[in-house]
């Protein structure tokens, strides 16, 4: 087995490269999985500080799974302490020009339904689906990020879509 060029992540330029590569994805992953109220940004920072503390033990190629596992565990610890309902923040609508009050109301209702439906998805489905729809990532990227197969990602996303539509129709 060829020896890794960089044996650990202790060199600062390597570390900052890892940060640039993984921090946003990690943040999004935490956000879509656990919602915003547990402060995913803090968990990202904590996970990266833990990576720095353990940089000798974690080679760069293992850094991603170390970060995701660490951040996920941090989140789970926080969740265990406070069971809170997931809530997705709604971003301001981009083009709300000259729309009738009925339309706005309908949009609002739809969005509320969608939010409920998203909360009803499994964590795995929600993460994959939002990575795909909100972040515009392709199946392959998500598969790499979550360390699962492309087929599994496809299943999760398609399943999520089906479930969302059923849920919205019901509500």
């Amino acid at each position: 087995m060829p020896k890794a060029i960089h044996e650990n992540s202790c060199q600062e330029h390597l570390y900052s490269a890892l940060f640039r590569k993984h921090s946003k994805n990690l943040h999004d992953f935490l956000y879509y999985k656990f919602g915003s109220h547990l402060n995913p940004k803090d968990k990202v920072q904590d996970a990266f500080i833990k990576l720095w503390d353990n940089c000798k033990k974690v080679p760069p190629e293992k850094a991603k799974s170390f970060l995701f596992t660490t951040a996920n565990n941090l989140m789970l610890n926080a969740v265990a302490h406070q069971k809170v309902v997931l809530k997705h923040h709604k971003n301001p609508r981009k083009n709300s020009t000259n729309e009738s009050p009925e339309f706005i109301l309908e949009e609002k209702q739809y969005s509320e339904k969608l939010q409920k439906a998203l909360e009803n998805l499994t964590e795995a489905q929600r993460v994959a689906f939002l990575m795909n729809r909100a972040e515009g990532k392709r199946f392959k990227e998500i598969a790499e990020l979550l360390d699962i197969s492309v087929k599994a990602v496809e299943k999760r996303i398609y399943g999520a879509l089906k479930k969302l539509r059923e849920n919205i129709d019901e509500l």
Partner: protein, 295 residues
Amino acid sequence: MNREELIKKWLDHNLNPDEQKAFEGLEDYKDLIRLSESVEDFKSPNFDSEEVYAEIKSSLKPKTTKNWIRSLLRVAAALIIGFSLFYYNSTLDTQIETSIAQETTVSLPDASTVALNAQSTLTYNKKSWSDKREVLLNGEAFFKVAKGSKFDVITTDGKVSVLGTQFNVVQHDNYFEVTCFEGLVAVSYNSESIKLKPGNRFAIIDGVIKNELESLQKPSWLHSESSFKNRSLKHVLSELKRHYDVTIDASKIDVEELFTGTFTHKNLDLALQSITSPLGIAYTKSNSVIVLKSE
């Protein structure tokens, strides 16, 4: 291509133009697009990784391991300094110095011993002792040299070389005296070499070479006495000053007068009487100032 496959391709952002058309023809196309667009509202808040990195950068403890070469160099430097100090110290000369009225005995690295008279300095090197038995002497000393290789006593006036023997060396201003008590002593002086047998003394006093005999078995100063045979009073007084911390005013007497006798190192009055009475000199003593004048 069926509906499900089309939707999956759409989800994967992977529709070709034909498929795109087919997808747009689906009855629930509008619903799908609406859902997808609405989902975008739930996009995660902006995450600026540069900004966040700047935030945590300060909380990262610096890693010493990054500079292991540097720390290794530091350790190496400390070791080198330590070793060189140790080496420097071990090669440094050993110096023994006696002050006024102080006598001491020095054991040299072999079995040789040196008795050092008052106000004298002896210097030798422990490190090179096995190669070269050599001491530097300023003042007076009695040597008991263990048998072995050549033993050199170096003074500013001459060099004394011996094998195994007992001898006394005196070197003061214009006063160089070597007395052999046992064995054989070679004295080098101005490229001349004189061999001294036991009971013989070689002296150069004020540039005058003297060959004398010595009847004593050991130099008298080892018994706290100084003995002189036909020595100028000035040398006697110098020796007195080496054993008593006094100032002597001898301006009113002739210091070239010769003196033969002994004075003790233990009692100043007795010593002064021993020196002055044979020469018919009177002395007055106040504090540590002694004035000599003719009677």
